[in-house]
Point group: C2
Chain length 612, copies 2
């Protein structure tokens, strides 16, 4: 579904961008952080976004001829917000009259502020017997550059707001909806909350929409945890108990409401001045939060209820802010590449960077995206819970006491533990470190088998004492709790743990290798690997390469992208153009299903071994 | 604001209609009960509404050229639903292939059924790993002749509805919204409820939208009564007590909910199969029901919150039907010509009848409309509560015991009483009868003064004994409760009562006389007087003429139009075209404000006397 792309060169900045054909000159500039004057926000009414097409051609009919003289039109002048780029063009942008506000979010993305939430302060003339125009018509006439749909709530508050303040009021507009009318001038106050609704952790960021700056951030565990750690157990819960869906929805609402209270309290912001929220979550989290039956997501053929959700309100998510506040929810590509990944792609500019880049969000379900700025491929790999410390004998979450860094030399084992605590178990990054280090020193062979004690005494006498057996299984002890020797009570890595990790990394490596093949590039062509999510922040790039989890490229090119889903959620609150970007992304990215590929098993088995 | 009108002649029916320029050939036919084939309901997709323009011209660009060969286009063939009449034309309508369903509602109006509520039964192919289309996309692809906005509720129910019934489901569509998806084929079941929300009485009609027939009707007193009998006292209540608005809204909801329960129970209909409601009420009743501050309606300069209400749901009116059901609310022309009158105009075809017709809805606030099928004028006259029996010494509502008919000869007084009860008081129609009869026999002079007892003994000895005084005021006794002589305890008409009636009828007569002058016609040009509402049903046309309440035209031309507001509400449930009609009406009718006219007082004083 890759659409045609065209090249736009902007002068005097010298920037050149490639965008889908039909995108306006204004949007293309905005997406790439190039500022063009505008006060109406690209609705074709302010006529300030005049640019000159200096090469190539933009049809006069796609601009507003009344904004220009015939000579200007003939010389290539167009309104950037109406001029659609349908072939390669060069555009001359006049110097800015006003300085656009922008914020840096995502992976170094510069977003020009254009929130859906707008406020307009207006002073109306009061009605008389000779002028009995209705309150609403009077207000709408004063903001007639906007074509508004009106919420009942706004009409409810209108008569009193007008008369409490001598017909001087502020219209609160979100997208094309009039959601409220407030007495007096409140135009300086407008907030939004961006939610990253993770299966494990939920993060809320309160944003001042006038400046683009975060006013407060809070996070907590998803209150759905008691129903299961991952999406599959939560989906199963709804299949076993008809009341579970309702309860899971309640728990999601409870989580979002708690965070809302926290960020508003911390920043001293009235929740009624929060006029919009955005939410990035995987398909299951999003459907559960909205009370949509998740069962078809969990069983073959893995189908979402809908890729793009209908218009919903913050109140549909149980978020106690302004009652008319809408909730922007990210669209999903499919059951296993959800809104969180679309948000992540947006935040990391997967569709706008000309380099060949690989995006990996490691988790029980691992999402992988490969793109070259022109084509985008995505897939989901069933990695299992090994990286989250589950199914690992001494595994645990990345909390206090978890071993997160492991370094092993022929004589010594050194551990780094989260928090001020003795080692209690092994989290995902510690697991990768341990396995990579054991392969490096030679205690694990490339097929993933631990050496026998006898063999170890021969070749690695300094570590051989750490080899033991627990329940008949060979283990390598990382930390003795008391005196050496009591392996069953130590923190160790077992032979089966290594196998779990091998399965997980093989699933992921098979995924990206298939995408590399589909895109027709070589592994060495990959110029950047983005590791998304919190696990990505802790993982050692060198060890990720060592075990074959990521392509073998210079470690400096393997970067932790951070909480990109949350960043994507913030971007859509700050700019409606980024939402258009998310829609375009969805139309451009092609999903590659792994589970029905005949070559999957062969490739998977090849990937089980560690690189030699 | 009268818009240009054009004439369309339809053959072979020979019908000729005048409609606002720009109306489609299909709509114009539909509004006048002329049937043209269509299965898509005029969306330009079924291509069944082919007609031939035989004179005049309809631009090819306003039709769909792909539906015809170039020869057919050259010969004048067009799709009626797309062809806009912008000048006088003649249209040849081919014989019908299907028989359209129609219902007779309003004042003899034939409405071709085209409810906003549609159901579509579809059988979908089940998803596979090779076809992972989302549930919603799969459904929408099967009804792609409709461009639908989707409600969250429909998405919530979608996965289960599809899988409970082998992907055979019924889509419930209201206007352009997908409001639900039901398992199996439920396409035969769709209901709506039309509400006439009166200040005094509220009526609900449950309609089977497949056949257009009423399934049940119920009525009750508006539960807002304890807050006052008329709109002004209820508005005042909200001004005195900040909590009154909320309570009035609750009472309205309670009333509508009770009636909903009654009509559904009576017809054995599941309220969840009621997918739309409509509501006709005056501006105050409508605003109160929706929780909109009514104060500006009650004080000069008398301003509505809005002429056209935003999209609201039945649940916003407290009506417990399908949770996604919208509520159609009639737009208002102004504070005192509300949605009930717009509904009444629609039901009585005020905009489609070429005769000069006068529409009067008598009440505390009396609404008057005069039209000739081309121009429409409306006004509101402050008649006061006399016709409702208030401010009349022995006045009462038209309930059991109320004298509703009075006949007086020189020797005798005969009364007709409501219910099986002795006379207890005088309702509006009885008041008009009594005054008219007294003028006729000569006991009241044309200035409205009761004869003195002495004078009466001379000229009307048979009635003179009924003349008496109560509290120093001259009265005419209609009924002695016991022995004649105890006037204070009798049912009587007082001199001041006559004055009250004179003020009321003068206000109304001044109103319609001003409209007659504005329209540039003579009183004798009026070909029909429509008396709306329940009062109109009881009023004697001859006596209405006798006291000068209505123009002096043959009594057979003075007709009771019945509950036209309720009929209008029914029509809009049965046909979306009638809603378009209501919108057109609103744009065409011109409101004439009486209170700031310099000639009002002179004319009012002229009208106080009874015709000689």
């Amino acid at each position: 579904m890759t659409t045609d792309r065209v090249r736009i060169s902007y002068s005097p900045s010298g920037r050149e961008v490639r965008v889908p054909s039909g995108v306006t000159v204004f949007d293309a500039a905005s997406w790439h952080g190039i500022a063009i004057d505008s006060t109406c926000g690209g609705h074709g009414t302010c006529k300030k976004c005049k640019v000159r097409i200096t090469a190539g051609d933009v049809d006069v009919s796609t601009s507003d001829p009344r904004a220009f003289t015939p000579e200007e039109l003939a010389n290539g002048w167009r309104l950037a917000c109406l001029a659609k780029a349908e072939r390669d063009i060069e555009v001359d942008v006049p110097p800015l009259q006003t300085r656009p506000k922008a914020a840096t979010v995502g992976v170094g993305r510069q977003v020009i502020l254009r929130p859906a939430v707008q406020k307009r302060y207006v002073e109306l003339t009061e009605p008389t017997l000779a002028d009995q125009q209705s309150d609403l018509e009077r207000l709408l006439a004063a903001v007639d550059d906007l074509e508004l749909t009106v919420d009942l709530l706004a009409v409810r508050n209108l008569p009193k707001s007008l008369r409490d303040n001598d017909f001087k009021v502020t219209a609160v507009v979100v997208d094309d909806r009039l959601v409220d009318v407030e007495p007096g001038d409140t135009s300086g106050t407008r907030y939004g909350i961006a939610f990253d609704l993770g299966t494990t952790t939920v993060v809320a960021t309160l944003l001042d929409l006038s400046t683009g700056t975060p006013a407060a951030v809070a996070s907590m565990l998803n209150a759905q945890q008691p129903f299961g750690a991952d999406v599959i157990t939560r989906i199963s819960a709804t299949m076993l108990d008809p009341e579970a869906l309702g309860r899971l929805t309640e728990r999601a609402h409870e989580t979002l409401a708690t965070l809302t209270g926290e960020v508003c309290a911390e920043a001293g912001v009235d929740p009624l001045t929060v006029y919009e929220v955005s939410l990035a979550g995987n398909a299951t989290m999003t459907q559960l939060a909205l009370g949509i039956e998740p069962e078809p997501l969990g069983v073959a053929p893995f189908v979402t209820a809908t890729r793009s959700l209908p218009r919903v309100l913050a109140s549909d998510l149980g978020v106690p802010v302004h009652p008319g506040a809408p909730a922007y929810t990210f669209p999903a590509l499919g059951a296993y590449v959800g809104g969180d990944i679309v948000a992540g792609m947006l935040a990391s500019g997967m569709d706008r960077d000309k380099r060949v880049r690989l995006f990996i969000d490691v988790g029980t379900n691992c999402e992988i995206v490969l793109g070259d700025g022109q084509r985008l491929l995505a897939t989901a790999a069933p990695a299992g819970p090994a990286f989250e410390g589950a199914a690992i004998r001494c595994g645990m979450r990345a909390t206090d006491g978890a071993v997160e860094v492991v370094k092993i030399s022929p004589d010594d084992v050194r551990l780094q533990v989260i928090g001020d605590a003795p080692p209690a178990g092994l989290c995902g990054s510690g697991l990768v470190d341990a396995v990579a280090a054991l392969v490096d020193v030679g205690l694990l062979d490339t097929s993933g088998r631990l050496l026998s004690v006898d063999k170890a005494r021969e070749t690695l006498p300094g570590l051989a004492d750490r080899l033991s057996e627990v329940d008949g299984e060979r283990v390598f002890v990382l930390h003795w709790h008391g005196e050496p020797g009591d392996a069953a009570n130590a923190v160790y890595l077992s032979q089966r743990d290594v196998r779990e990790l091998q399965f997980a990394k093989a699933a992921i490596a098979t995924g990206w290798r298939l995408l590399v093949a589909e895109l027709g590039v070589a592994e060495s062509d990959i110029q950047q690997v983005l590791l998304a999510g919190s696990f990505g922040s802790y993982l050692s790039p060198a060890n990720a390469v060592r075990i074959g989890l990521v392509p073998k490229i210079p470690v400096l090119r393997i970067v932790s992208a951070g909480n990109v889903a949350g960043e994507g959620a913030k971007m859509t609150l700050l700019s409606v153009r980024e939402r258009a970007g998310a829609r375009t992304l969805l139309a451009e990215v092609r999903y590659v299903e792994l589970s029905d590929r005949p070559d999957f098993n062969d490739r998977f088995i090849e990937q089980l071994a560690f690189p030699g």
